[in-house]
């Protein structure tokens, strides 16, 4: 009985630590009104792209996602 209780306690603590480390993504990165960093990255055709090169007349939608491979 005692050991069962101890294990539950440890799991809860581990869960708590993990939750404490996860930042709220709403608070991360450039905010509304701030300028986003430039970059130089290869696209799917092997062409190096800068931030400006992705812009249309009104700007761009920058989507960050996990990966196309997993």
């Amino acid at each position: 009985m005692t050991s069962t209780l101890r294990i539950i306690g440890m799991l809860t603590m581990a869960g708590f630590v993990a939750a404490a480390q996860a930042p709220d993504p709403q608070t991360l990165g450039p905010k509304v009104g701030e300028r986003v960093p430039d970059f130089s990255l290869p696209d799917q055709h092997g062409v190096t792209r800068s931030l400006k090169s992705t812009f249309g007349p009104k700007g761009a939608v920058l989507v960050f996602f996990r990966s196309v491979d997993w």
Binding site: A18, Q21, A22, P23, D24, P25, Q26, L28, G29, P30, K31, V32, G33, E34, R35, V36, P37, D38, F39, L41, P42, D43, Q44, H45, G46, R49, L51, K52, T54, F55, P57, K58, G59, A60, V61, L62, V63, F64, F65, R66, S67, V68, D69, W70
Partner: protein, 243 residues
């Protein structure tokens, strides 16, 4: 790069896909996900999200999520920015209001964040009450709960101040066309997967309740049933071909 090229050969990918090997730019943007341990194959991923930037590179809006399984559809982002979508809509003539209602997407998969929208046009000289108003019945959209559907936040626009002289009172109202956006999600949890197995569609139901008044009288509170039908898609589990 071959992986990106293969992925980009799928239908619908017409935009640049950039490879951030080593996550240098992800870190520079400050959106690196530090909760993934270095020995995990997904180490290096960002928090998933979208920045909309103007032609000077300044952020005009942003939409971020904490879990990689979850993502906003671009149409659900656009409706919040006031865009008119080219989607099938239902027009309803309700007492004192005209409603145009639609879902932002035809299909959704587990983890998809989409929205149902109610565009409301009050009749001539009519107003309805904004959320939070006390003493009148504020307009509200209630979505009926069902398995595998996560009901998220609803966005109402900023209200207008209405001065009602006979009672010398100021109330928060809507008297011009306005938009209600209700965010929804198909539950990406393993528990929900069982409820979603073999289903090809989902019908979402809800109710719009409100009280309309003009400059003389208040009308009987109304309750308008609404529904939206969408297709359900499984997750795309096709892996890219390795070179």
């Amino acid at each position: 790069m071959p992986v990106l090229a293969y992925f980009a050969s799928r239908p619908g990918v017409k935009f640049p896909l950039l490879s951030d090997a080593g996550s240098a730019i992800i870190k520079q943007y400050g959106i690196f996900n530090p909760t993934v341990s270095a020995d995990n194959p997904t180490y290096g991923i960002p928090f998933p999200g979208t920045f909309i930037v103007d032609a000077k590179g300044v952020v005009t809006s942003r939409f971020f999520e904490s879990a990689y399984q979850e993502r906003d559809t671009i149409t659900s982002v656009l409706v919040k920015l006031g865009a008119k979508l080219d989607v099938a809509a239902t027009k309803i003539t309700a007492p004192h209001l005209t409603l145009t209602t639609y879902a932002t997407d035809q299909d959704a998969a587990p983890g998809t964040h989409f929205s149902v929208v109610v565009d409301v046009t009050p009749g001539s000289r009519v107003h309805v009450y904004a959320p939070g108003v006390i003493g009148y019945k504020p307009i509200a959209l209630t979505i009926d709960p069902q398995s595998a559907l996560v009901v998220r936040d609803a966005q109402f626009p900023k209200s207008e101040d209405y001065f009602f002289k006979p009672l010398d009172e100021h109330v928060a109202v809507y008297q011009h066309p306005f938009r209600i956006v209700q965010d929804l999600e198909i539950d990406p949890s393993p528990q929900a997967a069982a409820a979603l197995a073999n289903r090809t569609g989902i019908t979402i139901t809800g109710t719009l309740t409100y009280q309309a008044c003009d400059d003389k009288v208040c009308f009987t509170p109304q309750s308008v049933p609404l529904s939206w039908t969408m297709g359900l898609k499984p997750l795309d589990r096709e892996r890219v071909k390795r070179p």
